[in-house]
C-alpha cells in the first residue's frame, strides 16, 4: 500500500493534464460538419407495403437513427400496389419539400426504373432496398438473392439427407420479381453440383398462401416421395406448410423458406417444426447498413448517380439445431421500444 500515495498523485497529475486539454477536444470540428450535413434532412421510405414485418422493422430502426441525427423520416404505404407506389414516388419527387434521400423497395425489375432515374436527376439520392431492379441506385442494400437461393438449396439437400428420395419441389413466387428469378437461379446453381437431386415440380404461388397450399397439395400427390420443398417466401410458405400438414408428411418433407427473421413469422415456426430451415436476412444489420449509406451520401457531396455499390446483408440458414433465443428479432418488442421513446 505504500505506493498508494504515489499512484494517487500520478492519477491527479494525469487528470489535471487531461482536463487541461479538454477544451481543445471540444473544438473537434467533425460533429458540426456531421450535423450540418444531416440535420433536417428528409428521408422518405417507400416499401411495397407498410404492413409486413420487414417494412415495420426497417421503419422502427430508421426512425430511431434518423431522429438521432435530427433528420425527418417519412413513409408511404403503397399497400402492395405498383400503381400506388409509383404515384407515391412521383408525388414525393415533385413535392415542394423534396426529400434528400429516397429509400425504395421495388416491386419488380422495371416498374420504377424511370421514376428512380428522374429522382436522381432532381438531385435526390436513391437507395434501393431488398428487391433489385434494372437501375443504378446510389446503393443497393439487401440480399444477394442468388446466394440466398444457394443457401436454400444447400439446406434442402442437407435436410433431405443422402438416403432420401432426393426429389425436391419448388414453390416459386412469380416470373417477374427479381427475388423469385434470382432465387431460382441460385437453387439451380447448387443443384447442378448434386446431380442425383431432382426438381420434380416448380409451380408459382403468386406470393399467395392459399395458392401455395393448393399447388403443394398437388405436388405431394403427384410425387408422394418428395423429401424437401423450397417455398420462396415465408409470407406464403404457411400454405405449403398447411399442405404438408394435411398430407401428414411433416416428418418426411423438409420445408425451406426465406424471410426477414421476425420471431412470430420465422423462429416460432422453426421451433414448432413447421419449417425445417429459414434463410434469414439480418434485419437490424440491413437497416444499419442503410443508415450508414445515408450518412455517407449526405456528407459525400457527390451528385446522385455517381456510384452504385452493392451492400449485401449477411445471410444465414437457421434450423432447429442452430436456433438461439436471439436468432430472430421481435417486431412487438421493437415497436414498443420505439413507441416508448
Amino acid at each position: 500500500m505504500k505506493y498508494l500515495p504515489t499512484l494517487l498523485a500520478a492519477a491527479a497529475a494525469l487528470s489535471a493534464s487531461f482536463f487541461a486539454t479538454a477544451p481543445q477536444a471540444a473544438d473537434d470540428p467533425s460533429p458540426a460538419v456531421y450535423a450540418e450535413a444531416l440535420k433536417g434532412k428528409r428521408i422518405v421510405l417507400v416499401p411495397m407495403a407498410m404492413g409486413f414485418d420487414l417494412a415495420q422493422g426497417w421503419t422502427a430502426i430508421l426512425q430511431r437513427e434518423v431522429d438521432a441525427f435530427g433528420g425527418i423520416l417519412e413513409t408511404r404505404d403503397p399497400n402492395w400496389s405498383v400503381e400506388a407506389g409509383a404515384q407515391a414516388i412521383t408525388e414525393v419527387i415533385s413535392s415542394e419539400t423534396k426529400p434528400d434521400v429516397l429509400i425504395i423497395m421495388s416491386f419488380d425489375l422495371n416498374s420504377y426504373s424511370k421514376l428512380m432515374k428522374r429522382a436522381q436527376a432532381e438531385g435526390i439520392y436513391v437507395v434501393l432496398i431488398d428487391n433489385p431492379a434494372n437501375f443504378k441506385p446510389d446503393a443497393y442494400v439487401g440480399s444477394d438473392w442468388t446466394q440466398l437461393g444457394r443457401l436454400e438449396a444447400e439446406a434442402v439437400v442437407k435436410g433431405c439427407g443422402p438416403n432420401s428420395s432426393k426429389k425436391i419441389g419448388l414453390v416459386q413466387g412469380d416470373q417477374v420479381n427479381a427475388t423469385s428469378l434470382y432465387q431460382y437461379a441460385g437453387i439451380m446453381d447448387v443443384l447442378a453440383k448434386y446431380p442425383d437431386f431432382q426438381v420434380v415440380a416448380k409451380p408459382d404461388s403468386n406470393w399467395d398462401a392459399t395458392t401455395s397450399r393448393n399447388v403443394t397439395t398437388t405436388m405431394l400427390q403427384q410425387n408422394p416421395d418428395i423429401c424437401g420443398i423450397i417455398d420462396f417466401w415465408d409470407g406464403d410458405a404457411t400454405g405449403a406448410a398447411a399442405a404438408i400438414r394435411d398430407a401428414g408428411k411433416q416428418d418426411q418433407v423438409f420445408l425451406v423458406t426465406t424471410g426477414g427473421g421476425e420471431k412470430a413469422a420465422d423462429c416460432d415456426r422453426i421451433a414448432d417444426g413447421t419449417y425445417g430451415a429459414v434463410v434469414m436476412t439480418d434485419l437490424a444489420q440491413e437497416t444499419h447498413n442503410m443508415v450508414a449509406i445515408i450518412k455517407y451520401l449526405l456528407q459525400s457531396g457527390q451528385a446522385p448517380g455517381t456510384s452504385s455499390p452493392f451492400i449485401y446483408t449477411l445471410l444465414k440458414a437457421t434450423t432447429k439445431e442452430n436456433l438461439r433465443p436471439d436468432s430472430c428479432w421481435d417486431l412487438k418488442a421493437l415497436q414498443a421500444d420505439v413507441a416508448a421513446k
Partner: protein, 335 residues
C-alpha cells in the same frame, strides 16, 4: 327466370339448339376432366379429386354468397374485404388476449353491421350496389387494417380451436368440402323452397313489378347483403383454419374477380333473375379442374392465366353465337 328453373328434362340437355352458357361450361369441364384423366398420371385418383374440390371450396362458398346477391340484381364487391378483415380482426382480438366468446360476438356484430349497411344503402338510399359495396369494402379494409390490426398477416393463436378445426377430416376429406356442400344445399333449399327465396328471382327479374305485386323487396335486399357478409365470414374462418393465419393481402388479389367469374361463367346473369346453386357448382368445377390440370402439367402461372382466360372467353363467345342478344332477351340493367 328461365335458367333458374331446375328440372329441365334431360333430353334437351345435349340438344345443340338448347345450349346455354351453363351447359357449355359443364361440357368443357367434363371434356377437360376426361382428357386429363387419360393423359395426366395421378389426375384421376380419389386424392386428387378431393384436392380439386377442396381447392375451390372457399372460392365456391364466396361465389354462393355472390350468387344470391347477383340473382337479386345486385353485386357485392365487399365480400373479399369482409372475409379477410373480419377474421383478421377476430384473430387480433384473440392474440391480444380477449376471451374467445366475446371476440367472436364482437366480430360477428361487425360483420352483420356491414351487411346491414350495404343492404340499407342499396335498398333504402337507392345507391347502386356496385358503388355501395366498392366503398364499404374499401372502408372495411382501410379501417380494420389501420385501426384494429397490427400487420398484414395475423396468426391463429397456438392451440385455438381453429387450428384443430382446419385439420378435421371425415373419410380423408377436408372439412371445408363438407361445409361447401352443406352451404350449397342450404342455399339451394332457400332459393328453391322458401317464399323469400323464390321472391329473390322475381325481385331480380323485375324489381318494380315484384314490389307492385306486394313483395317486401327492400327488406329482402337487406337480407341478401347480410347473408353475403355472413358467408364471407365463414369463408374467412375456413381459410384461417387451414393456413393457421390470415393474410389481408388477399384483398388486393384477383380473388374478387374470380368469385364474380365463377358465378357468371356458370351462367348466372349479372342482370339478375337467372341461375342458381347449380351454376356456381359448374363454374367452380371448371375453374378447379383447369387449375389442377395445369398445375400437374407444371405450366407457369402467367401461361395458366392466359389459358384460363382463353377458355372462359371461348365459353362466352360460344354462348354469344348460340344465344344472340336482341331486344327480347336483353334487359335493362344488363352489364
Amino acid at each position: 327466370m328461365q335458367g333458374g328453373v331446375p328440372g329441365n328434362d334431360m333430353k334437351s340437355w345435349l340438344n345443340w339448339k338448347e345450349m346455354n352458357q351453363e351447359r357449355i361450361v359443364l361440357l368443357i369441364a367434363i371434356l377437360i376432366f376426361i382428357v386429363a384423366s387419360f393423359t395426366l398420371p395421378g389426375f384421376f385418383t380419389p386424392d386428387n379429386i378431393v384436392a380439386i374440390v377442396r381447392s375451390v371450396s372457399v372460392l365456391g362458398i364466396l361465389a354462393l354468397g355472390m350468387a344470391i346477391v347477383v340473382i337479386g340484381r345486385g353485386i357485392d364487391l365487399s365480400a373479399v374485404a369482409i372475409m379477410a378483415m373480419s377474421v383478421a380482426w377476430y384473430l387480433q382480438l384473440l392474440n391480444d388476449g380477449m376471451a374467445d366468446g366475446a371476440a367472436f360476438l364482437l366480430v360477428i356484430s361487425g360483420v352483420l353491421a356491414i351487411g346491414l349497411l350495404n343492404g340499407f344503402l342499396v335498398a333504402y338510399a337507392e345507391v347502386p350496389a356496385i358503388f355501395v359495396t366498392l366503398a364499404s369494402g374499401s372502408f372495411v379494409f382501410g379501417y380494420v387494417r389501420s385501426q384494429l390490426i397490427a400487420q398484414d398477416a395475423v396468426p391463429v393463436p397456438l392451440g385455438h380451436w381453429m387450428q384443430l378445426f382446419g385439420g378435421v377430416r371425415y373419410f380423408d376429406i377436408p372439412v371445408e368440402v363438407f361445409i361447401f356442400a352443406a352451404l350449397a344445399f342450404l342455399i339451394f333449399l332457400f332459393l328453391r323452397y322458401t317464399k323469400w327465396g323464390r321472391y329473390v328471382y322475381f325481385a331480380g327479374d323485375n324489381p318494380v313489378s315484384a314490389r307492385n305485386a306486394g313483395m317486401p323487396v327492400r327488406p329482402m335486399l337487406v337480407l341478401r347483403y347480410v347473408i353475403s357478409a355472413l358467408i364471407a365470414f365463414i369463408a374467412g374462418l375456413l381459410t384461417a383454419a387451414s393456413l393457421h393465419s390470415i393474410n389481408t393481402r388477399v384483398v388486393n388479389s384477383t380473388l374478387l374477380y374470380d368469385i364474380v367469374l365463377v358465378a357468371v361463367i356458370g351462367g348466372i346473369g349479372l342482370s339478375g333473375g337467372k341461375g342458381g346453386v347449380r351454376n356456381v357448382l359448374f363454374g367452380a368445377a371448371l375453374i378447379g379442374i383447369m387449375l389442377n390440370a395445369m398445375t400437374i402439367i407444371d405450366i407457369p402461372l402467367i401461361y395458366q392465366s392466359l389459358i384460363k382466360s382463353s377458355i372462359l372467353l371461348a365459353a362466352i363467345i360460344i354462348d354469344g353465337f348460340l344465344n344472340p342478344r336482341d331486344e327480347q332477351t336483353a334487359q335493362q340493367g344488363d352489364i
